[in-house]
């Protein structure tokens, strides 16, 4: 039982252990891959909190027609700002591409909680001229 000899000094392993780093990096990569498609093409609006809202799975799809009305009265189609006069024709163009009978022809509305209702009605009127009858008013999805 002599004093235990420490062996580390003899052969120093000079390589950095990269395994944990790669581990963390891969996790970060996956997290950002998941989050990124959710962040783009969304106008930042403060949606109203409402009881009795139902899940609208289709509103997140690539081909969903989403109109946003912000608090300062601007209208957006997807991520681009459009004027009310153009909105009808552009929505009609988008609807014309949905030739499939089973396609979801609902137009989704992301209107700010404090947006002027007159502006919202103007936007609804504009899409009404495009022949839209189904409207989905998106609301805050956080838990109440």
């Amino acid at each position: 039982m002599a004093i235990a000899k420490r062996e580390e000094g003899k052969k120093v392993n000079s390589n950095i252990n990269v395994t944990p780093m790669v581990d963390v990096m891969l996790v970060l990569l996956i997290i950002f891959m998941v989050i990124t498609p959710m962040l783009n093409n969304k106008v930042n609006v403060d949606l109203p909190k409402v009881s009795a809202a139902v899940v609208m799975e289709n509103a997140n799809k690539e081909d969903a027609i989403v109109i946003a009305v912000t608090r300062d009265g601007k209208t957006f189609l997807g991520a681009d700002q459009v004027s009310l006069t153009d909105l009808g024709t552009r929505v009609a163009d988008l609807l014309a591409k949905k030739t499939d009978a089973a396609a979801d022809k609902t137009v989704y509305m992301r209107a700010d909680n404090r947006a002027n209702y007159g502006n919202v009605m103007d936007a609804i009127d504009a899409v009404r001229t495009a022949g839209v009858s189904q409207l989905g008013l998106l609301t805050d999805n956080s838990l109440q």
């Binding site: 989050i35 809202a53 799975e57 404090r114 209702y117 609804i124 009404r128 989905g136």
Partner: protein, 144 residues
């Protein structure tokens, strides 16, 4: 050395759960990020203009919920032409539609209001199990 566990010969019989917990925690975080993103909303309809040469069908059973503006104060609520308190609307709508086959109502809001107030009323309609809620815009009202 007697009881010196983890020595040269003794195999460790416990499963190493650390990587398992690692992976599960990452999956938990990823799903925590994804789940709240499912969009929710309220279904609404936009009445289309009546076809030409078609007589308008007068219907005295139509229910219109109006939201009127009181300047800066709380908005006023009306079902058809009688005033109601905000808290009494859901109950009244439930009473009206309990015996009806066609669950249709219309929402008409003052243009000066915030969109959130009208979204609340549409939510109340859905709470009262009204499946078809139409939004009356100025051009719908004008019959265009």
């Amino acid at each position: 050395m007697g009881m010196g566990g983890g020595g040269t010969g003794g195999a460790v019989s416990e499963i190493n759960v650390t990587p398992l917990i690692d992976v599960l925690l990452v999956l938990l975080i990823i799903f925590m990020v994804i789940v709240p993103v499912t969009p929710k909303g309220l279904d609404a309809l936009v009445p289309q203009p009546p076809k030409k040469n078609q007589p308008e069908i007068q219907n005295d059973r139509t229910i219109v919920v109006q939201v009127t503006s009181n300047g800066a104060g709380e908005p006023g609520y009306k079902i058809n032409d009688s005033d109601f308190a905000k808290s009494a609307i859901t109950a009244k709508l439930e009473e009206i539609f309990a015996t009806r086959q066609e669950k249709v109502m219309f929402v008409k809001g003052d243009a000066n209001l915030d969109f959130g107030k009208i979204a609340e009323v549409i939510g109340m309609g859905h709470t009262a199990d009204v499946t078809n809620i139409g939004i009356i815009t100025p051009r719908v009202a004008a019959g265009q």
